[in-house]
Amino acid sequence: MRSDPVVQVQALVKRYRTKTAVDGLDLVAGTGITAVLGPNGAGKTTTVETCEGYRKPDSGTVRVLGLDPVREAAALRPRIGVMLQSGGVYSGARADEMLRHMARLHAHPLDVDALIERLGLGSCGRTTYRRLSGGQQQRLALALAVVGRPELVFLDEPTAGLDPQARRATWDLVRDLRADGVSVILTTHYMDEAEQLADDVAIIDAGRVIAQGSPEELCRGGAENTLRFSGRPGLDIGSLLKALPADCTAAELTPGAYRVGGKVDPQLLATVTSWCAQHGVMPEKISVERHTLEDVFLEMTGKELRS
């Protein structure tokens, strides 16, 4: 279902005084959910804010929904939704007031009451923005980004600092957006967020994209995923390999200890156990070692993602 790119960034360079925030970055994002993943200071926000039209590239080109975000801002703005990392609301405004206002700026907004209900903002009542909790402020910012029924939503660290429940509520909404055909670009430094949500992940470090692909592709691209089990020694590895998908490996490491390498998914696990069943083998100590994006990132950059 990935068709025309919604975001196309080519050789983007952006400097602040002497610091180069983005250094020749290329990024193509299709429809669906694209996660821009990287440590703090990697250039995520600068990249996204250039796509939103806030910053002019020092060099390189940026196209969002086929438009130049600076020169064609008037045409682009109604079509995108923006969630800033923080702020963006009058300190004296109530949540529903601000949301209704943003709805009024659009031609076909969402039902505000339903959105308030959906994001649990009803409990904010008459509280003004400055007195809302951090989580409530985040959810309001998310609501403001989607209320205009945009084609594309930019979410800058949408779940930073949220408790697990609020995080899950945000993820659910993002998935619903995707299901209804809204494209999402989200920045995050949470691995699991990218793994859970994204169709496509771009890993950014020091102002460049160092890897891009689906979470599965990225994980497979790193060290191989592994399934281990124990059984009686001397099993027929050739027969096991025939049962497995073509790109898998299998070996008996020490007598009775077996390792299967490849894309470890439920199907593979079922294949291995049914092969064992056919050969009268009781597999013991089955374990799966899956490489996460965290491992991939660490391998590629030598850095911890969270700082």
């Binding site: 109604p78 800033l84 009024r104 031609a107 945009p150 084609e151 299901a179």
Partner: protein
């Protein structure tokens, strides 16, 4: 719960007039909800008018004190809303990313500025009504050409808006807060609002006369107290401040 299709994209900007009206309404609501702003735009002008009219604190020259004071308080009302109030509110909107967030909405920047101006004008109309009613109750008897008064108020608003936005768009929010209040206080005392300019030494007088607040209060007084025709000199001073202030604001305003 099924929500399928709820979020299906259907983008589009609302009509411009609706966006600007909604923005102006929200800005006005925010201003009227803010205690400090109300102190500045309503309480202080009202208090000064009542106090100085009924108690003989400053020698306001011949005639009823209220005839001298009402035009000055009208000028003060314009300054409190167009300059002090707008500078502080806009400074904090910039600081808290409100201007940034709105910049990504369908409302164009000029639409936001138009809405701000509209909101200032609505507030000023409310102030003028309030001050007029109180002044009449205190025995005010205004003269003069209403058109001249309107022109003075409009040019005064332009002059103070330019200066207020210049401050809000270039200084930090806290600095704007402090500076806007300080300027308000200084101009209140030294701008012919409640203290006649002829109480100051001659050299100071001619300089103070060039301030926008002095031009506005002097022009309003010429018309409303003395029934003069068009106060061209004062209108000219205000026009120059307006052009300089708005041009500088347009040139130097930083949105974040």
């Amino acid at each position: 719960m099924t929500t399928a299709g709820v979020y299906t994209p259907k983008p589009g900007a609302a009509p411009l007039t609706r966006m600007i009206a909604a923005q102006a309404a929200l800005e006005t609501k925010m201003l009227l909800r803010n205690g400090e702003q109300l102190l500045l735009t309503v309480v202080i002008p009202t208090l000064l008018l009542v106090l100085f009219s009924s108690v003989d604190i400053v020698d306001t020259g011949e005639g009823e004190a209220v005839d001298f004071l009402a035009p000055g308080i009208l000028a003060l009302a314009v300054m409190s809303t167009a300059f002090t109030g707008q500078a502080i509110a806009t400074g904090f909107e910039r600081r808290y990313g409100v201007l940034k967030r709105l910049a990504a909405s369908p409302l164009p920047r000029w639409g936001l500025m138009a809405a701000k101006t509209l909101s200032v004008l609505v507030t000023e109309i409310l102030q003028v009504i309030l001050v007029t009613v109180i002044a009449f109750a205190l025995g005010w008897s205004p003269h003069g050409n209403p058109l001249a008064v309107l022109l003075l108020l409009v040019l005064g608003t332009a002059a103070f808006s330019g200066l207020g936005l210049l401050m809000a768009g270039t200084l930090k929010a806290e600095a704007t807060l402090a500076a806007a209040n300080l300027v308000f206080l200084l101009l209140l005392v030294g701008g012919g609002v409640v203290v006649p300019l002829d109480k100051f030494p001659d050299t100071a007088q001619s300089l103070l006369g060039l301030l926008p607040i002095s031009a506005l209060s002097d022009g309003l007084r010429d018309v409303l107290q003395h029934g003069s025709g068009m106060p061209w000199g004062d209108l000219g001073i205000l026009a120059v401040w307006g052009v300089v202030g708005l041009t500088a604001a347009a040139r130097f305003f930083r949105w974040e």
